[in-house]
Symmetry: C2
Subunit: 143 residues, 2 copies
DNA sequence: CCTTGAAGCTCTAGTTACTAGAGACTTTAT
DNA sequence: ATAAAGTCTCTAGTAACTAGAGCTTCAAGG
């Protein structure tokens, strides 16, 4: 069976990613160089689709491009040094867990706002205070 | 009792935010204009500290500046239209819940990598596939 | 008091990660 | 066959910072 292939416009729609952004990821090296058809237009396959979705979701979660590159390498097991891979994974895990904690705190507060704040005026909502709380934060600030 | 006050360098250290970035948030209107001392230097208080931490954490979680502004307004109850506030809060809540789901999936996979992948070679790690999975994604892509 | 080094000021320019547009070529649908 | 839609490259613009030059202000030691 023949693999499904996509034009850049289709890929753009499937991933909710603008066309120039796709081309830019290719240029930047985050997305493998696409093959071209007779008329020099890019053709993408399932792997590109998966990878691009991964990149977009990771970006939405606040990872920058170098971090995404590192996660990619981690996944494709390009890192032969397992100890190093382990360390990188652990570092990203810590980052992810911190993000989860902060988002959950924010979720709680948003829920409280929706339940209380819009029907009565007494509760001062604290999304801001909760997300400002450094106890949820692994970085070194003290006060 | 007199309120604690900070210079821009102290604030920068306490929030892990670069000095020009702090000034830029002020210019941009995200941070209230700081009062100045006799020599024209900015002085910050506890409120600035809380707010700046909130901004930085929200940025790390992938919110853009307009979204942060909106959350701020929501918190300070500047929106007198409660129905509108409710809708904005709900929209952010959905966004937050989606981010949490994606991060938790990523957490699971990173943990699996750390447990298995670094000690034996059999398990192909799937951080990438998991984060590419559109079932966790509320946006409209279909394939 | 004076100095000297750190901290702050403004303004300009550079970086990252896109995003939009111009002008030409290719594909597709009638 | 041709018109419309899609894609190409290249250049320029935007958002959110980040760094540096050149100058002023603060604060601690002599």
């Amino acid at each position: 069976m023949k693999e499904k292939s996509y034009g850049i416009g289709q890929l753009s729609k499937l991933t909710d990613c603008k066309i120039p952004t796709i081309r830019w990821y290719e240029e930047r090296g985050l997305l493998p160089v696409a093959s071209r058809n007779a008329g020099n237009q890019r053709r993408y396959n399932q792997q590109h689709l998966t990878l691009l979705r991964f990149i977009r979701h990771a970006r939405q979660l606040g990872f920058d491009l170098p971090a995404i590159e590192q996660l990619q390498k981690l996944c494709s097991c390009c890192l032969d040094d397992h100890l190093q891979a382990d360390q990188i994974a652990k570092q990203h895990l810590a980052d992810v867990q911190q993000k989860i904690a902060q988002l959950q705190a924010m979720e709680t507060e948003l829920n409280r706002m929706i339940d209380n704040c819009s029907y009565e005026d007494e509760h001062q909502c604290q999304v801001l205070e909760v997300l400002a709380n450094h106890k949820l934060c692994s970085s070194g600030h003290v006060v």
